[in-house]
Symmetry: C2
Subunit: 382 residues, 2 copies
């Protein structure tokens, strides 16, 4: 198995990108990733995307983006794992290079949600749940998060305002990310006053669906220095799944896939959670941020919010999270988020994180699909 | 890079499977593939599917099928490349095992088209074209095939009835396949009398959309004998893409991706076309069968139909095609077809093809996406 490194990154601004189409966004990110390296060819392109068919009447997306990015002849597919689709594309790109079959592979994550109205988009997002037992019954992703959050608050005696730090951290960090959708810091008071989306999920507990694309270019570590001045090594790549429907899980408040994929990643990299300098986690909802931290060994059960309040996850804390705004403030262009996370870890490891730069040599990114039934974890090293 | 073999196959009956849901079909195939081998665990599952979101409101399909197949914790994604989605899943499963990251990987292809009405399904199938320049203008897959076929007939002075052998061969072979949707032989006269679907594409020039699922279980060749009595080695796995929209291609009658991926496969396997004992090709339309044979070196430009008439591609000919009925008679459950092709080659190489058994040691399967913008080719060896 070959060691794999990231030699190029690309990202578009996140938001309501009315002026750019699905293909425009993806091509922008892919071309930026190519320009960011000195690679002269691309052997394969894996495009992480969840809803191009439902919202834009476009499947066969991998080949479309390869075509419009000028990658003539390259292998190209679309990969889907709900919100974790982009991370799945990175994972498959890693397999392609690790196997020795490809030398240069691009993973791109893209979502264009504003081509459909909000109701259609929100309904389609729920296709990441079990259609027959959850989605078709009318449940949405925010309402699923509401069920989890209510149970969490009950089980661990956590109040709604206790979860404020996750949104506060994300918005504080997003303020300095030029690509972020939301660039205004918020206070705990503002968090508390926000309207409800799906009680107890308030507006600041839910990341915004939006448009965006990000891409990374991978190659074998042994030649990475020839194609990039600061290659970033993939120390671990791991994935796991759980029961899809929440009612099928023994303990809905324990994200088993997140735990399993993180454990697999720690084993591969030979590191423990406390050795990581940052953790880009999947804060599609603040409850998922808390559950991720607990599943991955950064907090005891029911203790994530308390640690967050103590500043452990701040930019200057022990394990900074969401250092460029997370899904909450950078925005959550569904399938693209998993690749944005990797791009942001690379920015930190290269020293290109601007005002949010931390001292970092080892960083982790974890992307979740739906309510956590898919989890994909990468550990990167400068 | 590790050598990879197929140790288990599974397939459902193809047709209008009103009594089985999307998940039922996929689980049936996955469980059958597991039962067909002695593997005791599955590390990853890649599900090839094109339209689960559009037709069944279900994404996150990889994890759903892993969950319902009892693969607790396994890595799982959906892969999409239009009609070639199933073959793409096989290709990624190959990468997973070749890389050394996984030992046992299942690739499943599934499509459930009868959950939506025919108009919706046909419109969604066109999402495999370029939405902005082709699909959204109202063009469908049959009408795209009609444009190609008309041009082919003009360019090479081929009459409609000259293409009859492709449908005749497929239906003759499908008659002996217990899983096939259509099990009645047809004559050239019946072919000629059939109504038009999209002139000059007649009813027997177009494979039927339907329901079905197939699966293969892969492991390293070095241990394959421990888990199967007749493992089949993957001698080559290759993929390529072309411009997506037909109007972007220099020569619409030359399937460049099919040519490229076949050439890559021949190079990997160190074989020439004439050394292959059978070729499961992508006859979603008879024109695509002809163009595939020409792109892959089995016939000169414009000569495929003539060779077919001479019996070259019959079951007892030099290079049998569609030995279990092809897409035309076995049926074309969109994303599943690419895996059915692999399963059928394995049946031939194992000597399990029943009345259609040929003497075969080396077989090829090639799946095309849309009008051929994606091509994935596998060469298998007994």
């Amino acid at each position: 198995m070959r060691d794999v490194s990231i030699i190029g990154i690309g990202q578009t601004d996140v938001g309501e990108r009315w002026e750019r189409s699905l293909r425009d966004l993806a091509v922008d990110a892919v071309v930026a990733a190519m320009k960011d390296s000195h690679a002269e060819r691309v052997d394969a392109l894996y495009v992480g995307n969840m809803l191009s068919g439902e919202l834009t009447a476009q499947e066969h997306l991998g080949t479309l983006i390869a075509d419009w990015s000028g990658l003539g002849g390259a292998e190209a597919y679309k990969v889907e794992a709900a919100d974790a689709s982009g991370a799945a594309a990175v994972r498959l790109a890693y397999l392609g290079v690790a196997s020795g079959i490809h030398d240069f592979v691009i993973a791109c994550g893209v979502e264009k949600t504003t081509d459909a109205d909000a109701e259609t988009t929100n309904a389609a997002w729920s296709y990441g749940t079990d259609a027959e037992y959850e989605g078709n019954q009318g449940i949405t992703m925010p309402s699923m998060a509401g069920l989890l959050m209510r149970r969490y608050m009950h089980e661990f005696s956590v109040a709604h305002e206790d979860l404020a730090p996750f949104a506060v951290i994300a918005h504080a960090n997003g303020a300095n990310n030029p690509h972020a959708m939301f660039r205004s810091p918020i206070s705990a008071a503002v968090y508390a006053k926000a309207g409800m989306v799906a009680d107890p999920v308030g507006m600041f507990d839910a990341a915004p669906l939006c448009d965006g694309a990000a891409a990374v270019l991978l190659c074998p570590t042994e030649v990475a220095n020839r194609f990039a001045s600061r290659p970033v090594r993939i120390r671990a790549s791991a994935a796991a799944s759980d029961r899809l429907a929440i009612h099928s899980r023994n303990d809905p408040l324990f994200l088993r896939a997140a735990h399993l994929s993180a454990e697999r990643a720690y084993m591969q990299a030979g590191v423990a959670p406390h050795e990581l300098d940052l953790f880009e986690l999947h804060d599609a909802f603040s409850i998922l941020a808390a559950l991720s931290l607990e599943a991955c060994g950064f907090a005891g059960r029911g203790k994530a919010a308390e640690l967050a309040k103590q500043g452990v996850f701040d930019l200057q804390g022990k394990t900074p999270i969401c250092t460029m705004g997370g899904l909450k403030a950078r925005g959550h262009p569904i399938a693209a988020s998993g690749v944005y996370q990797i791009v942001e870890v690379v920015q930190q490891l290269r020293g290109e994180a601007g005002a949010n730069q931390i001292e970092a040599h080892l960083g982790m990114a974890q992307s979740l699909g739906g309510t956590g039934a898919t989890a994909i974890t990468h550990i990167l090293e400068a």
